[in-house]
Every structure is written in structure tokens, then in C-alpha cells.
């Protein structure tokens, strides 16, 4: 059984006991424990079930590479699935539960799958469930889905109470990984004077060296770490962060780091995670190495663990994984585990070493303490169900004939180490195969390149393929100095030193024993979580899924939550063997960010709820809010849709607003309208190119309605342009258009007409804009006093500066409703004041505010087009009968040439008309007019469609505009519009102007 040892444990505080629960059981831990160490201390080796076969799963590793120990963490709104127990720090009151089983972890009916495993080889689902077809949707897939997933889904109504934030940082050098290599690199770069950020994903500095190392600079490793930290902390140019993982490396030295601020203390105030966006001139990856499992039958039974993890638990946490540990290895390093077990007073019945005759100091040390070292041997199979009970030993060379059984409850395995090359690889760093170590390591000649073609990532220490302590330190110091040099600093000081213990070479062994039968191979796990076995990879190769990506996808190797940190190299070595190709030729799959999963909350940052996107408020926002507005989101703005009075439906409110505006007086908040100032000696010439109309001839003091087309000739925006003075125009755009029309103007100015003297400024938010509309519009302005707004002084399509009620304003006499109308621009800071003034003085004239829907109806009654309704990116001004706005005098304007193309000049186009239903009803939005028969693809032929359709409270009937084939030539003709329910509406083609055809009302 696994239990807490007498020995202390480097990282736990034995003075502070805390309690947590697992599957409802209350258990004890010490401060500093990870959930995995705490579970092991409580004899909870079985922690979950695998994905496909629901095999029992135990803790196998001690860090980020753990594939098995995933738990449901917390509860309620703070519930988190798939939390990795090996990197979860225990706090008082933590609640965890195991995943992927029913009804319980101990007894799981899904485990039946393991007995069927022979019928469920890699890719079985591609070959099954094909017939009969309906069964896939109704039976097979639902069944597969039921068994999908690992962790529980959070409750549907979960609202995460925690907050998340971003940090933006710029630095010369970012060093990822706080083991001795990272610390050393930081010392090197820091002493040289470079600005450095050093981050470590765990809570502690020093990494593996504190467990595995002997001495650095003649002192115990732990003491050296303390000194190094002291020196680093004393340097102002160094920022140190623990619990911060380098998550992804992107182009141009952009690195994401993921800092976990409160996960280790449980629910608390302040942000839970922080996403750092670091711009680093140089990135040093000192991310260490990960031990590889070995492939032998039964290597997935709980109790089979990485040799390094077994000693980590003993040394770091004072926890034994079991009483009797058999070590199985192809290298010397695993002997450290035997020593650690012996030091902790535990038994090591044997070390099984596949190598024939190595003899080195480490092996000698183990032998001299009486441990049996079995050389040239292998594990034929592990015995046990939910826990290891022993191993059968065989010779590595043979086919697995059992020579001897050894009882044990832990198997500590080591297949060698692989550098963590993820962050090196994210942005295109290439790898090279290291024969001696049997691993891929960064190829320094093919590093990720920055914008200027120079390398910006440097690997250091074990991450760079150095596996001996002395070499690690030397390499890390050199690399730290190299990073400093590249940012222009001058290296100083000398590398720390350590004595390396001589080690015998590793023997690359990818399968145990060498001649294992299918039966054994189908019990050798490569990917513990996804249940991918040696036999699966072999099957993939046999069936021609030879590319490593095909093998991965066919078998799901490396696609689990650990992304193959333990399984990838072993899997591709098996594939290479099968294809009889060298491993480097087979290559690796692509390393993608993040290094380990990061929370969605952290990625989303602070942007949620009300501030999910920037909220743009007009200056009158609060007034609307106070007057019962119903909002409509328009881009990032909110605009009043209507102002329902008590008991009124939205529809009723809109009708009331429409009628009142026509009969009395309406106020519209038009502040969202885009306002672009175009200024300079060439402004007129520029606008002549942008608009289809002639703008250069506009007189100061006057306004002109203009159209803007894309290069392809399609209508993209419209609005009124006012000429302020000779050099200055004010261009109004649609509300949605302000930003992209501004960008459009800039693009042309910067890329094509960069020599024209024009500047554009977007002043949309500098002004509030109020449309005062209706027969009483002039009356209310006159009641405020300040300027002459008579027809004579301010005629239709003119503008003037002045004051109203003491507030400086600019008034445009333009109308989008067909009524007498003034659009008043006012400094944003005084807009609400003016609005309130107008509203108060307007009472006597029956004033009512109106919203966007009334605005739409009013303009539709007048047959005015609306960008986005009558246009959809395929409509040209000619389609809308806007020929009058297309200058014939100008040599060119954007879209002119495109409008001459054959399809655009086709006599048979869909053109704008009015539509009047025969029965007075409203045609549904988006309905099409049917034509005769079907086309070559069997679709019903259509001959037009509705573009705007409303109930007009003024006309007391449905009105619509639409685009109809040769429409204007077909006045009076009746069309059939099909509704989605199959019924039809009939409508006559009429003039699009429904109200005040002569236009007398606006020009009074």
C-alpha cells in the first residue's frame, strides 16, 4: 500500500495538517502536498478510469506529464473537471472526485470494455456501425457519446464567480522553467544586465536537481538554489514568478504565460488566473526533461509508475508509493529510485535492467546495499488488477518465457528521458535526433526565427538535451549569456559547476521483451488515458496509416489531455520499428500550444457580461435608460429600439412613435452616426474618388447626400456630406460604417494616394447628434431661441452654426423621414443637456422620443434605402434607381469601372420597387417572389425578393421595398411571395415612395 513515510519530505510542512475530501471521504494532508501525493499518502492509488476500456488508473507521474490522475475538482459554480492531481496543490477543504466511471471508481460497469478490447482495436469504429444507416444516428452514436468525455460537464447554469486578468510585459529575456538550468540562465543573463523574467510552473524553484542532484559549487543543491534565488532577487532587472507556466510561443517573441494565483488556496478574492502576454526579445526554454515509460504487458496497472515519480513522492512529500518497489530500467538514472527507496526504509526486491553488463558507481551503490540487480532481463508481465501484486520476469532477448515471479506493489520504470521541446517547437523550431540519449532535442541551427530572420528561442539545460548535472549548468550559463548577448548585454561571471557521476549508456528498448507475442503487445500501453497500445500502433502501420500523423489520428495516440507527453516518443519508436525506418525519418507530430491546458476564463480575461465587448454609449444613454428604453445592440453601441410606455408592447410603441413623429414632434438620438472630418487641399478631389457623386463642387454651408461603392462597384455606405469650408468636409456615415469607412479612407490614402494632402479624423464620439423631426420641429427650436432656423435662413440641405438655448450647436437641415427635420450636432459633453431641453420645451408640441425601428419605418414610407437592407454586398446604385447620384462628369470614382462589367450592365437585373400587398398584410422579412419552374439544380426559380417590409401605422397597411427582375418596367404587376410555411402572399409592384410622393413635407 502507499502511505506517508517517517521521513520528512522536502516540500511539505509537517506542522500544518489540512483536510480534504476525495469521493466524499475526508482525508488528511500536509500543507505543500499535491493532490496526488496526498492521495497516495492515504493509500488511494486508484484515481480514475481510462477513456476507452475504463481500465483502472493510478498515479503514474509527479508533474505536468500525468495522464491518469485527473479529477473533478470543487463544486457548484467553482466546479472544474479534468484537474491534474499531480499539479493541484491541496488546500484545506479541497473537494475532489474521480472521473469516468459508473456507478463508482471501484466498480465500473464500463470496465466491461476491457474484456471486449480484442474487438475494439485501433480505429474499430471506422470499420463498424456502417449498416444499417439509421442506427448510427439513433443507436451507435448516442452510445459512443455516452461513453465520451472524461470529467463531468459543469452544470448548464454555471456562472464562474472568479475573475481573470491579463498582464502585458516586455522584456529582453524570458526564461521559462525554474529548475537549476533556468536559475543558472537567469543568473547569466541577469549578471549581464539584461531585463529578465523567469517563470516556473510549480510552486517551487529548483526542479529535479533537488531530488536527483548531488552538489553544485561544492554545496548541497538545496543550499545552492537558495543562494541563487537570493542573488536573483537582489537584481532589479529580474522578475521571478512561480506557479507561472510558459504556455505558448508565438511569432516575433510573443509568449503566453499562465499564472495561477489562487488555485492553491481555494476560493478567494482577486483574480484566479492571470494570462501574461510577454513580448520577449529572446526566449530561453529551460523546461527540463520528462521520463519515458517502458512498454511491457500490464504497464498500465495502478502501481506502475515512472521511476522518477516514485522517488519524487518519497523525497519531496515523504510518501511511499508502496512497500516493495521493483525498478525496471534501460538506464542508470532509475537506480536513484532504488537508493531513495532504501533510504526511506522500503524494500527493493530487484532492479530489472535490460542492459547486459553495465557497471557504474550508481549500480555499484545499489548492489552494495544488497539489492538484486537482474541484468539483461525484462518484465514479461505485471500482475494485478486494481493494484500491482507482482511482476513476471523474463529475458529481454526472448519472447517472454517467465523465469521468475517477484512480488511487489510498485513497479518503477524508466525508459530514459526526453527533453521538453514543446515551447521550442511551437513557433517552428526544428528538432534533431540524439542517438546516444534516444531522444529528440532542439536543433540550434534551425531555431524559431523572429521578424528580422534572427533566432529568438534558445533551449538550455535538459531541455536542450543535456542530461548530466555539470553539463546542464554549463549549458544553461552559456545559453543565458547567449540570450544576453543577443539583446546587447555583456556577459559576465562564471557558470556554477557540479561533478557528474559516470553513467553507462542507455539502451534504447521500445518493447519488452524484444520478441513479445501479440497477446503481450496488446497489453502494452503507450497512451494510458486514451488506451492506445503497442498492438494498435502496429495495426495502424500494417493498414497503411504510416505517416506519424495518420498513426496518431487512427489510434488517438497522444491526443489525450497530456497530449502525449509520456506516449509520443514510445509510440513513434514502435511505428519506426514497424516501418523499418529510422526514428528521425518518422518524425514527430506537431507541438501545439498550450504546453498544458489553460483555463478558458484566463483566455477570455476580464471581458464578460456587460463588458464582454466594449460598450459604446451615446451622450444621452442615461436619459434613455431612465425613460424605459428597449435597447438594440448595433455594433458595440446600444441604440434605443423604442420606448415602450407602461403596458405597451414593442410593436405598439413603435407605431405610436411613427405616428407622433409624422403628426407632431419626434426626437431621435442620432449620435451613433459616423462623423468623419476630411481636411486638406486635396479633400475635394479625394471625396470625388470615394463618392459616386461630385463632392468638390459642394458649396460651404451646403449638404449633399452621397453614395460610396467598393472597388467591385457594390454600394457600401451612404450619408450626408457637409462642406465646412474650402478645405474641410464633414462626412456622415451609417452608424455601423463609421469605423470601417474611416479605415477604408485611410487605406486608400496610405496605399494609393499617399501623396494627396488629406487628413481624416473620426469625430463620431466628439459630438452628440439629435434629430428633431416632425411638423413642429421648427417650433420647438424657435422656442429655445438663439439662432434663426427659418426656411429662408436655413434652407433644406443647408447647415449653420449657432446656439440653441445657449448651447453651441451646428444644425443640418436634412431629413431621413420626409418630415421637416433638423439634425443638431452638439459637443458630446452638452448633448444630454440639449436633449433634455428639447424634450422639456417639446412637451407643448407633443414631443416623443423615437427609436431605430420607427426610424426604419419612416424612411421606408418614403422609399429611402437603408444600407444593409436594400444592399447586401451584391447591389449596385443602379439597381436602386440611384443613377442621379452617379456623376457622369467625373473621369473616375471607386466602383465606376466595375459597374461597367457585363453582369452589372445586364438589362435583366433585379431593381428596386415598392411592394403593396393585395390584402394589406405585411410580407414576411426576406421573402422571395417566385418565378416559373425550376433551374438546372432543381431549385424553384425566383424573380425578386423583399428588402424592407413593415407595417405602416400612418398608412394602416403593410408596405415593402424589394428588388424585382426588371421591376420598374412592371408596375402594377402582381407577384407571389412564398412564406416558409408554404402559404403565399400576393403583392403588386408599385412606386417605392409610399408617403408624400412630392416631398413637400420636408421642404417647408
Amino acid at each position: 500500500m502507499s502511505t506517508r513515510l517517517q521521513t520528512k519530505g522536502r516540500l511539505v510542512n509537517r506542522d500544518r495538517q489540512i483536510s480534504f475530501s476525495f469521493n466524499g471521504k475526508r482525508l488528511k494532508a500536509y500543507e505543500g502536498d499535491t493532490l496526488a501525493s496526498a492521495l497516495l499518502a492515504n493509500d488511494q492509488m486508484l484515481v480514475g478510469r481510462s477513456f476507452k476500456y475504463h481500465r483502472p488508473r493510478g498515479v503514474v507521474a509527479s508533474g505536468a506529464e500525468e495522464p491518469n490522475a485527473l479529477v473533478n475538482l470543487g463544486e457548484g459554480h467553482r466546479f472544474e473537471p479534468n484537474a491534474r492531481a499531480t499539479t493541484t496543490e491541496v488546500f484545506d477543504g479541497l473537494k475532489a472526485g474521480s472521473q469516468n466511471h459508473f456507478p463508482s471508481l471501484e466498480f465500473d460497469v464500463g470496465a466491461i470494455n476491457q474484456h471486449l478490447s480484442r474487438f475494439l482495436p485501433a480505429g474499430f469504429y471506422y470499420k463498424m456501425f456502417i449498416h444499417p444507416r439509421p442506427l448510427w444516428k439513433h443507436v451507435y452514436e448516442p452510445f459512443i457519446r455516452q461513453s465520451a468525455g472524461l470529467g463531468k460537464a459543469p452544470d448548464a447554469e454555471t456562472r464562474d464567480p472568479d475573475t481573470y486578468e491579463y498582464f502585458h510585459a516586455h522584456t529582453d529575456v524570458l526564461i521559462i522553467g525554474g529548475g537549476v538550468a533556468g536559475l543558472t540562465a537567469a543568473l547569466a543573463a541577469g549578471r549581464a544586465g539584461a531585463q529578465v523574467i523567469l517563470c516556473e510552473q510549480t510552486a517551487d524553484w529548483g526542479g529535479r536537481a533537488a531530488v536527483d542532484g548531488d552538489e553544485i559549487d561544492g554545496m548541497p543543491v538545496e543550499e545552492w538554489i537558495k543562494n541563487a534565488l537570493q542573488e536573483l532577487e537582489s537584481m532589479k532587472n529580474i522578475t521571478l514568478r512561480t506557479r507561472m507556466m510558459g504556455a505558448g510561443v508565438y511569432d516575433h517573441g510573443y509568449v503566453l504565460c499562465y499564472e495561477r494565483l489562487t488555485d492553491h488556496i481555494g476560493p478567494s478574492e482577486g483574480p484566479r488566473h492571470r494570462l501574461w502576454k510577454v513580448r520577449a526579445k529572446q526566449v530561453v526554454t529551460a523546461t527540463g526533461a520528462i521520463e519515458r515509460p517502458l512498454s511491457f504487458a500490464g504497464n498500465d496497472i495502478p502501481g506502475v509508475m515512472l521511476a522518477s515519480a516514485v522517488r519524487d513522492y518519497a523525497i519531496n512529500y515523504g510518501v511511499s508509493a508502496g512497500d516493495r518497489t521493483v525498478v525496471v530500467t534501460n538506464n542508470d538514472d532509475a537506480y536513484r529510485t532504488a537508493i531513495a527507496m532504501l533510504d526511506a526504509g522500503l524494500s527493493v526486491p530487484a532492479v530489472i535492467d535490460v542492459r547486459a553488463t553495465p557497471d557504474t558507481p550508481l549500480i555499484e551503490r545499489v548492489k552494495s546495499r544488497g539489492v538484486r540487480v537482474m541484468q539483461g532481463m525484462a518484465i514479461a508481465k505485471v500482475k494485478g488488477g486494481k493494484r500491482v501484486t507482482g511482476v513476471s520476469v523474463c529475458s529481454q532477448a526472448g519472447e517472454g518465457a517467465v523465469l521468475e515471479d517477484i512480488a511487489c506493489d510498485v513497479v518503477a520504470m524508466s525508459g530514459g528521458w526526453s527533453p521538453v521541446v514543446h515551447l521550442w517547437s511551437h513557433c517552428g523550431g526544428k528538432l534533431t535526433w540524439d542517438e546516444a540519449g534516444a531522444f529528440f532535442r532542439p536543433d540550434p541551427t534551425r531555431a524559431p526565427l523572429s521578424f528580422d530572420g534572427t533566432p529568438f528561442v534558445i533551449a538550455a539545460g535538459s531541455a536542450n538535451g543535456e542530461m548530466d548535472e555539470g553539463a546542464v549548468l554549463a549549458d544553461a550559463y552559456t545559453m543565458g549569456q547567449e540570450a544576453a548577448k543577443r539583446v546587447g548585454a555583456t556577459p559576465k561571471g562564471a557558470a556554477p559547476t557540479a561533478k557528474d557521476t559516470a553513467q553507462a549508456p542507455l539502451l534504447p528498448v521500445w518493447m519488452m521483451p524484444q520478441g513479445a507475442s501479440y497477446k503481450l503487445r496488446s497489453k502494452m500501453w503507450l497512451d494510458y488515458q486514451n488506451d492506445v497500445k503497442v498492438s494498435d500502433v502496429q495495426l495502424a502501420a500494417q493498414e497503411g496509416y504510416e505517416s506519424v500523423e495518420h498513426t496518431k489520428r487512427y489510434t488517438t495516440l497522444g491526443m489525450a489531455t497530456d497530449q502525449g507527453k509520456l506516449s509520443n516518443i514510445n509510440g513513434l519508436a514502435i511505428l519506426a520499428q514497424e516501418l523499418n525506418a529510422p526514428i528521425p525519418q518518422v518524425g514527430t507530430t506537431t507541438f501545439r500550444p498550450p504546453y498544458t491546458p489553460i483555463s478558458m476564463g484566463a483566455i477570455a480575461g476580464e471581458a464578460k457580461g456587460e463588458i464582454f465587448q466594449p460598450l459604446r454609449r451615446t451622450p444621452m444613454h442615461d436619459w434613455h435608460e431612465a425613460h424605459g428604453v428597449y435597447w438594440e445592440p448595433v455594433g458595440h453601441w446600444r441604440r434605443p429600439y423604442c420606448y415602450p410606455q407602461s403596458g405597451e408592447s414593442h410593436e405598439d410603441a413603435v407605431n405610436r412613435e411613427v405616428v407622433n413623429t409624422r403628426e407632431n414632434l419626434g426626437l431621435l438620438d442620432a449620435s451613433t452616426l459616423g462623423k468623419l472630418i476630411v481636411k486638406g487641399p486635396d479633400a475635394g478631389k479625394f471625396l470625388d474618388m470615394l463618392y459616386t457623386n461630385m463632392m468638390s463642387t459642394l458649396k460651404p454651408g451646403r449638404c449633399r447626400y452621397g453614395l460610396m461603392c467598393s472597388e467591385n462597384g457594390f454600394l457600401m455606405d451612404d450619408g450626408v456630406v457637409a462642406r465646412i469650408d474650402d478645405d474641410t468636409f464633414l462626412c456622415h456615415t451609417t452608424s455601423g460604417g463609421a469605423d470601417h469607412i474611416h479605415a477604408h479612407m485611410e487605406e486608400w490614402l496610405q496605399t494609393e494616394w499617399w501623396d494627396w494632402q488629406v487628413h481624416v479624423a473620426n469625430v463620431t464620439e466628439q459630438y452628440g447628434q439629435i434629430a428633431v423631426v416632425g411638423p413642429k420641429a421648427r417650433d420647438v427650436l424657435q422656442s429655445l431661441g438663439g439662432m434663426d432656423v427659418s426656411k429662408e435662413a436655413l434652407s433644406f440641405m443647408g447647415w449653420a452654426d449657432g446656439t440653441l438655448g445657449g448651447i453651441p450647436v451646428r444644425i443640418f437641415r436634412i431629413s431621413f423621414s420626409g418630415e421637416l427635420s433638423y439634425e443638431i450636432a452638439v459637443d458630446a459633453g452638452r448633448a444630454q443637456e440639449l436633449w433634455e431641453l428639447l424634450h422639456a420645451n417639446g412637451q407643448q408640441f407633443g414631443v416623443m422620443p423615437y427609436g431605430t425601428e420607427a426610424l426604419h419605418i419612416l424612411r421606408a414610407e418614403k422609399g429611402f434605402i437603408m444600407i444593409g437592407d436594400e444592399t447586401d454586398g451584391t447591389v449596385i446604385p443602379q439597381d436602386l434607381g440611384l443613377h442621379w447620384a452617379l456623376s457622369k462628369k467625373k473621369a473616375d470614382y471607386l466602383g465606376k469601372r466595375a459597374q461597367q462589367r457585363t453582369h452589372m450592365t445586364d438589362p435583366d437585373r433585379w431593381l428596386l420597387v415598392g411592394l403593396e400587398t393585395v390584402d394589406g398584410s405585411v410580407i414576411p422579412d426576406g421573402a422571395y417572389a417566385t418565378g416559373e419552374g425550376t433551374n438546372a439544380n432543381g431549385q424553384k426559380v425566383v424573380q425578386g425578393r423583399v428588402t424592407s417590409t413593415y407595417y405602416s401605422a400612418n398608412l394602416k397597411r403593410g408596405i415593402a421595398m424589394g428588388l424585382v427582375l426588371n421591376g420598374p418596367d412592371r408596375m402594377g404587376e402582381q407577384l407571389t411571395f412564398l412564406k416558409t410555411d408554404g402559404t403565399a402572399v400576393h403583392a403588386r409592384i408599385v412606386d417605392p415612395v409610399f408617403y408624400d410622393k412630392e416631398g413637400v413635407k420636408q421642404d417647408v
Binding site: F51, N82, F119, P121, Y126, M128, I130, H131, R133, W136, K137, E141, R145, A148, G149, L150, G151, K152, A153, D155, A156, E157, D160, G248, Y250, D251, K277, Y518, S522, L539, E543, S547, R553, Y554, T556, T561, Q563, T590, P593, P594, P597, M600, I603, G609, E610, Q613, P633, D872, G873, A898, R901, T902, M904, D925, G926, Y928, A936, N937, Q939, T980
Partner: protein, 414 residues
């Protein structure tokens, strides 16, 4: 070819699965083919398959520079729907969707077409009107779609917050027979069927030049030597511009990165596909339990199959807002592909200025769903010179200004 079935699995299990054949043969290229297809993505393979199946043309090679299905076909988020706005689009996407329905049986390879339904959310009044238009168009095009209310949306997707403070859900366009399929399986299934008809699938071989004589194609140069052909189909998605250049013409195409990501797997909680165009994101849950998420394209042109992280942020924000329960899930993996985008957001299936050279590209962010229909039409185009499915998608439309603008319907990448 030995048939796949549950019985076959039982039979092979008894022999420890030693009897399974290669899914597709590994053959050396011949000196000459009737038709060469460049690019063994879904579209290239489907084109080859229907050339054989519908026209009996089997002296065909599909040449792939990497591994088959390794382009966008193996990177996409697998949304299948056909509720497009314009007639030509609805025709080809619906053809594809209906072929997907029986593709597993047709190919004898389970491509796991899962018609679980697709909702496109409307979160502005403008969007409501847009989707109502699409619904009307679809009814006439023979595409079954339906406008549904917010409460129906909530019932289909309990994890959705339909009352978000910024963009409350106003309804949705629902295509019940839309869904997803397993992308790799689509490529593998077609490849296996092509190989079975005697076609050669030549992987790890890059086409480096296109040979012409008197304005007519005669063959290609590859990293494994020259191969002659009578007709050539270029079906290389993001690299179309490069291949067109080899053939001496230009394309109105831009290549931009499109990214996607998945969460860690969780137990099933969302059975349909949801697309939210206003906030810009979409999501489905795979049969493995991962939440599969995508969003918009990068704004810069590139060939690196990774994108900029701020797009991931925007997408994740949008989805956390729409599905607040995502907040404590974790992103497992992000990746990108290079998509080939045209000005009108519609594909190009066309003859080219070079006699005998045909091109199929421009599927941009949404071509997985089109694979069977595109292959069907493209095969007809190559075999007969035209096809009602592809006629409207010719290159000449850019000269004539006859765009098939789907930007109304394809506001978000999918």
C-alpha cells in the same frame, strides 16, 4: 478490397488482427495518367472518386506533397450544413450534405456523419432579418431549415445563456439535418475507395511544375520525377495561388490563417452545433467529448499554419459569454490552417486559361461540408466540360462581376 463490418472485426480479432489489409495501396507513380489530381485533401480525393464512380475514369493519380488529408481537411471543425443563401451555393452544399448522409455506406468506411443539427444564432435584429431571408431562400431551394425561437434554442442547448446582457438571443436558424463528420475518416474513406478502383494515391510527392505545350497541359514535374497526363485538376486549397502560378495564371484568392481549438474532453453536454456570428464563434462537442471551437480568420496573409493569439482570445470570449459554463474548462490544443478566400466568399470550380487544367479552390473557411458535392461536380466538369453544380462558380464570374456573395451568410468562419 475486403469489406469492413462488425463481422470482419470479429473474424480478424480471432487472428489477432493480422489479416487487415492496407487501407490504400502504396504504388510507384506510372509514367502517364488520364487525369492527375494535385492535392489529396477531401476535395481532391472526392474528385478522383467520382471520376471513377460516375464516369468510369480510373487511370487517375492523386498527388499529395505531405500525407493525405493533412491540409485543411484534417484541421477543420467539421461543421456540415447547407443553408446557404445564394442558389448556386445552396445547390452544391445541399448536394454535398445529402451525399454525406450515405457516404459511410457508399465508401464502406464509417465517416461518422452525425446529423445532430446546426443552429445559427441571431443576436441582432439585422441578423434576424438576414436569417429569415435565408430561411425563405432555403425553402425554395429544397433545403430544410427552420427559424426557431429563443426558448426553442435554449431547449436544444441547455448550456447556452440566451439572456446575455449584451447580445441576448433573438432566435436562430436551425438545420436539423446539418451536423458534423469525422474529418480524417472522410479523407481515408475516399482514399481507400479510390485505391480500390485502381487509382494511385501518391503521398510525400510535391508537384513543382506544370508542363504545357501549345496552351495545353501535358503533365507535371514532381519531387519524384515527371508524370504525364491529359487532364489536370488542381485542388490544393491554401496553395492554389502557388499552383496557378506554375500553370501561368493568376487567381483572385488570398490565403489567410484560420484557427481552431478544443477543450479537454468532458461528458456530453451539447448535442448540436451552435454558430454565433454576432459575437463571432462557433462550437460543437465531439464524440470524444471535446468542445470544438472556432472563430474568425487572421487579417494578414500567411502560409504558416498557425495564427495570432488574439483571435483565439476573441473566440473564447465570445463562447464564454454564450456558454458561461466554459469558463472553468481548459483549452487543450489550438491550431491553424491556411484557407483560400475569394472576394465573394464562394469557391471556384472552373476551367482555366490552360487547356486541360481545372481548378477547385476558394472554399475558404467552410469547404469541409462541401467535399462530396464539390467532388461530384468537379468530376463532371473534368469529364464532360461542365456541370450544373459548378457552372456558376467559374473564374469568369470575377471578370463579369457576377459574384455569388455569401458574406451575408458566411459572416463567421466555419
Amino acid at each position: 478490397m475486403k469489406k469492413y463490418s462488425a463481422f470482419a472485426i470479429a473474424r480478424e480479432a480471432a487472428r489477432y488482427h493480422q489479416g487487415w489489409e492496407r487501407a490504400w495501396a502504396k504504388r510507384a507513380p506510372k509514367a502517364k495518367y488520364d487525369v492527375i489530381i494535385v492535392g489529396a485533401g477531401g476535395h481532391g480525393l472526392a474528385t478522383a472518386y467520382y471520376l471513377g464512380k460516375n464516369f468510369g475514369i480510373t487511370n487517375v493519380a492523386v498527388i499529395e506533397k505531405g500525407w493525405l488529408g493533412g491540409g485543411n481537411t484534417g484541421r477543420n471543425t467539421t461543421i456540415i450544413r447547407s443553408n446557404y443563401l445564394q442558389d448556386p451555393s445552396a445547390a452544391i452544399y445541399e448536394k454535398a450534405r445529402s451525399l454525406y448522409e450515405n457516404l459511410s455506406q457508399d465508401l464502406n468506411y464509417n465517416i461518422m456523419f452525425s446529423p445532430r443539427g446546426v443552429i445559427m444564432l441571431a443576436q441582432t435584429h439585422h441578423e434576424v432579418r438576414g436569417y429569415q431571408r435565408t430561411a425563405h431562400a432555403n425553402a425554395l431551394q429544397g433545403v430544410k431549415t427552420e427559424w426557431i425561437s429563443p426558448s426553442q434554442v435554449k431547449k436544444l442547448v441547455p448550456i447556452m445563456n440566451i439572456e446575455g446582457p449584451r447580445y441576448p438571443v433573438l432566435g436562430g436558424l436551425w438545420q436539423a439535418r446539418g451536423g458534423t463528420a469525422r474529418h480524417d475518416a472522410v479523407a481515408w474513406g475516399y482514399a481507400r475507395a479510390c485505391s480500390d478502383m485502381g487509382m494511385d494515391i501518391i503521398q510525400q510527392t510535391e508537384v513543382t511544375a506544370i508542363k504545357r505545350e501549345g496552351g495545353k497541359v501535358t503533365g507535371v514535374s514532381t519531387t519524384r520525377g515527371d508524370i504525364a497526363c491529359d487532364k489536370l485538376g488542381i485542388v490544393v486549397a491554401g496553395h492554389s495561388g502557388v499552383l496557378a502560378d506554375m500553370a501561368g495564371f493568376r487567381l483572385p484568392i488570398e490565403s489567410v490563417p484560420l484557427q481552431a481549438l478544443v477543450s479537454e474532453p468532458i461528458k456530453p453536454c451539447m448535442d448540436v452545433v451552435v454558430m454565433a456570428n454576432t459575437v463571432h464563434g462557433y462550437m460543437s462537442q465531439s464524440d470524444k467529448g471535446e468542445m470544438v471551437i472556432g472563430g474568425g480568420t487572421d487579417s494578414h496573409n500567411a502560409y504558416t499554419q498557425r495564427g495570432s493569439f488574439h483571435h483565439i482570445e476573441e473566440t473564447v470570449r465570445a463562447l464564454c459569454e454564450t456558454f458561461p459554463m466554459l469558463s472553468r474548462l481548459k483549452m487543450l490544443r489550438q491550431w491553424g490552417g491556411i484557407v483560400d478566400v475569394t472576394g465573394d466568399r464562394s469557391p471556384i470550380l472552373s476551367k482555366t486559361p490552360v487547356d486541360g487544367v481545372f481548378i477547385n479552390c476558394g472554399w475558404g473557411t467552410g469547404g469541409f461540408k462541401a467535399i462530396p458535392g464539390s467532388g461530384w461536380g468537379m468530376a463532371e466538369l473534368i469529364a464532360k466540360g461542365h456541370s450544373p453544380l459548378t457552372d456558376e462558380f467559374g473564374l469568369d464570374r470575377f471578370v463579369e462581376g457576377r459574384f455569388i456573395d455569401e458574406s451575408v451568410a458566411a459572416g463567421v468562419a466555419h
